[in-house]
């Protein structure tokens, strides 16, 4: 949280999708940060302690894809909520950390903001 607003980190290697996701996060009233791959996302997570939720793509260049990133975050920063979106076949939910939400691309903006609100709510109440 930063100044009472939830902070969401958007991770996607495709600039236009990342831009759209950042805009979506801001329109929902949250503070948005962005990273173009898992390595950059981890650097940002290491540099600050106010990130509430990570919204990540799956297929990205770099050392980790979005699924590995999700597990890494869950292990190292357990309170951070996770939303994963992918253009590939519907993933086995079991391949994701428990409690994370999966969406296939193209996702419905409302479905994403609903999921964000739900996850952030559960975080604050739990």
């Amino acid at each position: 949280m930063k100044n009472g607003r939830a902070v969401v980190l958007v991770v996607d290697d495709i600039a236009l999708i990342r831009m759209g996701a950042v805009d979506l996060v801001q329109s929902a009233g949250y503070e948005a940060l962005e990273a173009q791959d898992a390595d950059e996302a981890i650097r940002i997570l290491e540099s600050r302690d106010d990130i509430d939720l990570v919204f990540t793509d799956v297929q990205m260049p770099g050392t980790m894809d979005g699924i590995k990133l999700a597990h890494f975050i869950r292990n190292r920063w357990p309170p951070v909520q996770l939303i994963v979106a992918s253009g590939r076949d519907i993933l086995e939910e079991s391949s994701l950390p428990t409690g994370s939400q999966y969406f296939s691309k193209p996702y419905n903006d409302h479905a994403i903001t609903d999921a964000m609100a739900r996850l952030l709510q559960s975080k604050n109440s739990g």
Binding site: I17, S27, K105, P106, Y107, D109, H110
Partner: protein
């Protein structure tokens, strides 16, 4: 000498019919005595393994070619077979020859025992599987490559649609005018409608789209983004178990998208509750698609709004599907029906291939 080796055997005195069957076998075949002397060989064997057919009879198996058939394992198995202690069934062995690639052989051997002790024979069938195995491997590789390629294409299509959807929604969030926002949101719904087909295709087999699941996904997505109060307005989907070609499903989905958007916008201005029903039923090649609402009904008289892009899309797609479009009063509400009658095909404006 003619094309065949002489069908006779001075040393072994086999019946000419037995020899003929062996010699003419399409499958590489050897008839052997118990001490592995060749009584007869098929022409196919000589051709497949480059052995001179004219001189093969009377030679020992181990002396053929450059001695490459003198494989200890094969010899011991044949000896065991000859003594009745073993049976060679689909035994795999590699044939190694100098300056040639190793061939993968599948060997079958059978004892032929007519009761006379000095007349026990071995029938040895040798199939060269090298090429067949290589072909099978190539086929597996190609199928694997194809699956990866399809996944890659689906991934790219999904990302492209996501880019388009994101840009449209960013535009809709930024514009000041309600009308412009409306148009951008409608464009977004159309993109999502086509995307839903893509999602169904990636999970279905044979390029067909199961309509029930597709329409459910489509209406859920439309409802989630357009209905503010889910308790007030609802969309019901009553679709049979039809599956249709991707192109057809895209057209049906876009028609439903337009009609549902239209009903959500205009049918329930002040109603405390409202329901839209999307139904599809087929019988043989006939089908009927209907979107009905229980709202205020169609406006009549001079207040009728000018037909928009949505109407144009519905009319064009209905015509393309060779369907007739009918708007009726449902009392309460409005029902829009697209009906396709297979018997009436060709009477519509579609170009015929005569």
């Amino acid at each position: 000498m003619g094309p065949f080796m002489p069908i006779k055997s001075a040393i072994f005195a086999e019946a000419p019919s037995t020899l003929a069957v062996v010699v003419l076998s399409n499958e590489p075949l050897l008839l052997l005595s118990t001490d592995l002397q060749i009584i007869a060989a098929s022409i196919s064997f000589c051709n497949a393994f480059a052995i001179d057919a004219a001189t093969i009879v009377g030679r020992r198996l181990g002396t053929l070619g450059n001695g490459e058939w003198n494989m200890p394992k094969l010899v011991s198995l044949l000896n065991a077979t000859a003594s009745g202690n073993a049976k060679i069934e689909a035994y795999e062995i590699d044939l190694k020859r100098p300056n040639q690639k190793t061939r993968q052989l599948v060997v079958n051997a059978q004892i032929l025992d007519d009761g006379q002790k000095d007349h026990v024979r071995l029938l040895l069938a040798v199939t060269d599987m090298t090429d067949a195995r290589a072909t099978a491997r190539l086929k597996d590789d190609l199928l694997n490559d194809k699956a990866i390629l399809i996944q890659e294409v689906q991934h790219r299509v999904a990302n492209s649609l996501q880019i388009i959807a994101s840009i449209l929604m960013q535009g809709a969030r930024r514009v000041q005018s309600d009308e412009a926002r409306d148009h951008l949101q409608n464009a977004h719904h159309r993109v999502m409608s086509i995307s839903a087909v893509q999602k169904q295709l990636s999970t279905s087999k044979g390029g067909k789209v199961p309509l029930k699941a597709y329409m459910a996904l489509l209406c859920e997505s439309l409802g989630a983004s357009m209905i503010a109060d889910q308790d007030r307005l609802s969309i019901a989907v009553k679709v049979d178990d039809s599956s249709v070609e991707a192109d057809v499903s895209i057209s049906l989905g876009l028609i439903v998208t337009e009609l549902v958007i239209n009903a959500l916008k205009h049918a329930f201005p002040d109603q405390p509750k409202g329901k839209i029903t999307v139904s599809y039923a087929s019988k043989g090649r006939d089908w009927t698609l209907m979107v009905a609402d229980d709202g205020i009904g169609m406006p009549t008289g001079p207040a009728t709004p000018k037909a928009g892009l949505g109407t144009g899309i519905v009319e064009a797609l209905a015509k393309n599907l060779q369907g007739t479009l009918e708007v009726s009063c449902a009392e309460p509400g409005t029902a829009v029906t697209v009906r396709h009658n297979a018997d009436a095909e060709g009477q519509t404006a579609a170009p015929s291939a005569a």
